[in-house]
């Protein structure tokens, strides 16, 4: 039988400071959740089921998808919505479980900092991805086979 200890902190409702984002956070979680269901299952279907299925996934497949603005926008939306959704979910878990306000602050910062790094990196990759960059002739064999000769 689990025993939940009485919280040791004395009870005093501290007036929360700053803007209250809780309502917007709550709405964001629901709205992004609905959109993500479509985006993620669409992503899984196109990658794993349609066409050659999971065996069709290789460098050329990804390069082909990101050549199309449609999939760029699809993946960009998935990246932003999912990372912010996940980070906000982690924030609520931290709010519920962190034992001290200072620890909570550190953990929240870590979660949102890592989400921000991933969002920036992902966005950069989606828009600057070039499967056939111009290289010096001796490095040409490093490029994928479908690249036109330079």
């Amino acid at each position: 039988m689990s025993t939940v200890e009485t919280p040791r902190s004395p009870y005093a409702r501290t007036k929360p400071s700053g803007t209250n984002w809780e309502k917007w956070g709550w709405m964001y979680m629901r709205a992004s959740g609905v959109v993500l269901v479509v985006l993620i299952f669409g992503h899984l279907f196109v990658n794993m089921v349609a066409g050659e299925g999971v065996r069709g996934i290789d460098f050329a497949f990804v390069a082909g998808k990101w050549a199309s603005p449609f999939w760029q926008v699809w993946d960009l939306l998935m990246l932003w919505l999912a990372l912010i959704h996940g980070a906000n979910g982690m924030r609520t878990i931290i709010n519920d479980y962190s034992s001290s306000p200072a620890l909570g602050k550190v953990l929240r910062f870590a979660v949102f900092a890592s989400a921000a790094v991933l969002i920036v990196l992902g966005t950069l990759v989606i828009f600057t991805f070039d499967p056939c960059p111009s290289v010096s002739p001796e490095q040409f064999d490093l490029l994928p086979s479908f690249c036109p000769p330079q």
Binding site: P16, N20, E22, M27, D96
Partner: protein, 251 residues
């Protein structure tokens, strides 16, 4: 008359049986930490947990402390954690529990433990007071008349009028357990009772109070509160109603 007597004698004798109660004791004068203590009690199938606690207090250990007032499920003073679930001791029949196992009884969680099954209810009532649980009406009723309300308008908040402030819901809420800052289901239920009352004019004030970092948005819909409520109030539904009202900006 004769038949009535015959019927009375036909009633089978109430069975007595022995159960083990393991009670989480805490005597602040003696104990550093709370400890579990076991009691064997002879009870009847018609007895409730409260009767077993009385048997212990009256016959075995007079130091056992717990709150009870009406003992009939309406004063809300004897909420406790029985086999891990918040229940009123006066509404829980022992025969409905698994009596082949010991029955664990402890104080409700998340409020400061004072002694045995008694907790400090002040934080609970402080949150309750914050939502202004009283009628705030700007209009004057017609002279000599009451404020009238349609059956439909009364129906909107009927469920939340049943609250007896026993704290079973709030102290079953895992979000309340974390730091005690969350308003808690009971305060929101009692805000709901006035927010959706057509005679009340301060719904927006209460919605503003509950649109707080520690307000309705901390509810994770685990339904512990609904499960714990001895009055059968759909607590999680009431909280969801308040969330929707905050989003709409009106009741």
């Amino acid at each position: 008359m004769a038949t009535a007597v015959a019927e009375q004698t036909a009633v089978p004798e109430v069975q007595a049986f022995t159960v083990t109660l393991i009670i989480r004791r805490f005597l602040p004068e003696v104990d550093e930490e709370a400890r579990w203590e076991s009691f064997d009690v002879e009870v009847y199938s018609t007895d409730r947990i409260l009767d077993a606690l009385h048997r212990i207090k009256w016959d075995q250990d007079g130091s056992l402390s717990f709150r009870r007032s009406c003992a009939h499920g309406i004063c809300g003073s004897d909420a406790m954690r029985i086999n891990g679930r918040n229940r009123l001791a006066c509404k829980t029949l022992i025969k409905d529990l698994d009596i082949s196992q010991p029955i664990y009884v402890e104080a409700i969680k998340g409020l400061p433990l004072e002694k045995d099954l008694i907790v400090d209810m002040e934080p609970f009532f402080a949150a309750y007071r914050e939502v202004k649980p009283f009628l705030i009406a700007n209009s004057e009723p017609e002279a000599g008349k009451e404020r009238r309300q349609t059956i439909e308008d009364r129906e909107r908040f009927d469920d939340t009028t049943k609250c007896i402030l026993c704290a079973a819901c709030t102290t079953s809420c895992p979000v309340f357990w974390t730091d005690g800052q969350y308003f808690g289901p009971a305060a929101i239920v009692n805000a709901h009772r006035f927010i959706f009352d057509s005679r009340d004019d301060a719904g927006d004030v209460r919605l503003d109070i509950l649109n707080d970092k520690e307000g309705v948005w901390r509810c994770r819909t685990t339904f512990n509160c609904t499960d714990a409520c001895p009055r059968g109030i759909q607590v999680t539904q009431a909280i969801a109603d308040v969330k929707q009202a905050v989003l709409r900006g009106r009741a």
